[in-house]
Symmetry: C2
Subunit: 204 residues, 2 copies
Amino acid sequence: MRYRKIPDESIRRLPVYLRGLLYFAETGAKGVSSEKLADFLHFNPAQIRKDFSYFGYFGIRGVGYDVNTLIKQTRNILKLGNKHKTALIGAGNLGKAILAYPGFGVYGFEILAVFDSDQAKIGKKISGRTVEDVSNLRTLKKRGISLGIVATPAPAAQQVADALVDAGITGILNFAPHHLIVPKKVKVITIDIAMELGRLPYYA
Amino acid sequence: MRYRKIPDESIRRLPVYLRGLLYFAETGAKGVSSEKLADFLHFNPAQIRKDFSYFGYFGIRGVGYDVNTLIKQTRNILKLGNKHKTALIGAGNLGKAILAYPGFGVYGFEILAVFDSDQAKIGKKISGRTVEDVSNLRTLKKRGISLGIVATPAPAAQQVADALVDAGITGILNFAPHHLIVPKKVKVITIDIAMELGRLPYYA
DNA sequence: CGCTGTGAATCATTTCACAGCC
DNA sequence: GGCTGTGAAATGATTCACAGCG
């Protein structure tokens, strides 16, 4: 199994596993089996075992997994061990919500810079960060910032993405309802909130 | 094809197709082929044709699709034709961003009520809506509200979901980082922002 | 002729079921 | 004995390739 191609879907599940494991750690559990974790997260136990097995042997047969070890290993796999310096582009309502969202800290993301193109916002402080002019994006490389969160309107998104790529960014979390075209080495994850809601009435 | 089970993935793509079609309509295009739409959205043309074919014959062989007809049909399939009365639970930063987000309107969602459990927020106005006490959720049925957006912290989410189900809601868009347990008839779509970001460093 | 609609083929993911090991 | 780790089987989704039709 060790040599096989790892499905993207497995990577998608790892952060979910991590959350489950953090929950078990909180409750004071030392060990956990794939079945207990699966029950908690509503997954299939075999899938959990297989997903982890792509990356190594983390469990003990007949016993299960050590919670803290598996947390550490999962963080390793996802490269969440060290802090990730992140820039936010777009200081509108969504941007503000992102800044205030506690979830980012848990995964080691530090939003160190905030950019906008609106002169009225530039220079103002939001959640302790001064909003900078979007034309300064090229300073990101110098500042060691390697991830970008795009929270601009759709028409500006591609332009911002281009600037982020130029600034040497390696990953983009895109909230704009627009498909971003970037070089293959840059990973884009798009979250389109209205799009998700758009399929809800279908099931009603 | 008509009789087959429709993959969830197809439903997930329909709102994306709709956005592409709206773009073509804006540019004044009368007709569009599966290939042109696929180019624009970065999909496979056969997939687009197959996805639509689950629901009927919408195209003309040798010609393509009529943009406006296909928009109407897609809206029909997704049941976006009529307005959807929606309640928002959680008037924090995320809730505020959701209220300000223009995307909902496009798909016909009207956020008619906002709830919170924080006494300091109840009674205050946000984006023109008065924040109500979360204990009044049972009034939703009377008010004809059938969808709920959960933007509360994780620990409160399940309780809120239970109350929404009791109030006769048929769909939930969940932003809380927590798996919601609801009856099968209720559809839940969860968007966990930190979780999406959590897999970004892996690809770096 | 050109593009849709769709069976068939391919490819990917999930689940099963059990050998292997603590 | 019990749980992991994993080939093999089953399931599901995507893409191909072309028949069918305007």
